[in-house]
Point group: C2
Chain length 313, copies 2
Amino acid sequence: MSLLVVGTVAFDSIETPYGKVDQVVGGAATYISLAASYFTNRIQLISVIGDDFPEATLSDLTRRGVNLDGLQVKQGEKSFFWAGKYHTDLNTRDTLVTDLNVLADFDPVLPDDAKNVSYVMLGNLTPAVQRRVLDQLESTPRLVAMDTMNFWMDMALDELLEVIKRVDLLTINDEEARQLTGEYSLVKAAQKILTMGPHILVIKKGEHGALLFMRDEDDHEVHIFYAPAMPLMDVFDPTGAGDTFAGGMMGYLAQTDDLSFDNLKRALVYGSAMASFCVEKFSIQRLTELDVPQILQRIEKFRRLVHFDRDKV
Amino acid sequence: MSLLVVGTVAFDSIETPYGKVDQVVGGAATYISLAASYFTNRIQLISVIGDDFPEATLSDLTRRGVNLDGLQVKQGEKSFFWAGKYHTDLNTRDTLVTDLNVLADFDPVLPDDAKNVSYVMLGNLTPAVQRRVLDQLESTPRLVAMDTMNFWMDMALDELLEVIKRVDLLTINDEEARQLTGEYSLVKAAQKILTMGPHILVIKKGEHGALLFMRDEDDHEVHIFYAPAMPLMDVFDPTGAGDTFAGGMMGYLAQTDDLSFDNLKRALVYGSAMASFCVEKFSIQRLTELDVPQILQRIEKFRRLVHFDRDKV
């Protein structure tokens, strides 16, 4: 099925304990689309860039089945730029520079082809921009997912809550789930969020994996699933891991078009697998050189990591 | 099979966001023995208390199959006492009081029955005391496990490394694994620790679960398994959770007497299940009121939490 992706397409400068890269390709929509492209080649990317963005990256995206008709190119302007430095633990980072550039007055316009998609992934952006995308849809998608961050909870909470109300699936990290609900327990936080609009919630915990909560439409019971992150020798660069996770998950859902809890579990594991590749190299590099056998091999590694026989066999 | 448990039997005063209790029963050996008693009734407890310890707790332990011949009672002296206050996140705490009392000059003496046990769990204690216990064993146990903490890495590293060299299984938390090895990556830290003596390592991550590493004797490959912590509505009191985890794990191993990687996985899940009960109430209370059906039900909950079908069925 078709997947609509909205988010940033940008440049990053990144410093981690393993090295430093300048002005490399980044952006939520880039990571999401690349990860999803291993599962579906019917992707519509909605974003904005300046005239400084590398043609090679754009043609690579196109080759992977990412339709760029909804990618606005602003002549004479610069693409969104972020610079950050990670601490030794790689779980925390300092933002050094945020240059909005073309993003400052981004008004997403959906091409006609993009108005009747089955799956929608709203990457982290101003809630007003996320809402503008939903307003242009002409039919109800099978699933609308959104990502957000604490910044919007501080700056535009009312608008954010309006968008959350309209989506089926929300992904946020553990601290954001706590901030959004005022509950320390993630189980309690999840129960509150599942009354705000979404009936599916994914709480991302970085190196500690991700929790899936789904409210059963029939009995209102909340089902829980936990997907760990793969323990790795080295995490070179965590940038984009959360977006890659979302991209793998949504790509898998668009491919399988099955919203049962069992299939959502698998989607979470596919997302975790894609994220575990993403962090192995800087920027989008590792995501551009994968193949399906490598992904399936990692899925099997995840299975062995967590599966146990309840009884001796 | 028989299980030897060494550790503190003590009093705690605990404050958490959910309340405050004074002078309640605690101690590593208490939690370990109680948790293990659901799997084996051949437990030898080695510890020391003053004459202030409640008779009811001791007779309850005896009733559960915990042999107290190795528990020294010092007349006119006081039991070990710890007071602590947990922060809102329940993952960090301040120690308010540590009164060693009888523990200051504890010299463990193993009764003859305890010198030929099959399983040994050295709870967190001065490395010298842990070593004194190993020195008294008359035959090689099937498995010797030990717990320790950062305090001994700071205060008695050489002695600690000597004991670590002699055990099969080490349990420590993530920060301690990093401190012990100087490696931030837990995979790298595990690889280093598995050259220090133990061929099995359990890294405890609190609310984020536990990682099991086992070095294969044949091909030296390191196998990894991850057991999550159960997401809970409320964690009332995390005191003793790590010891309860170790007790459940060692009790299950003593019961099944199977040291295959598949069975170690199950042991980790049983440990996690026991720990998930422990934190539901203050002190040892929840551990005294369990039954086997409740435990099996929670094991099934763990299975559902992490298992996924790799392919659509």
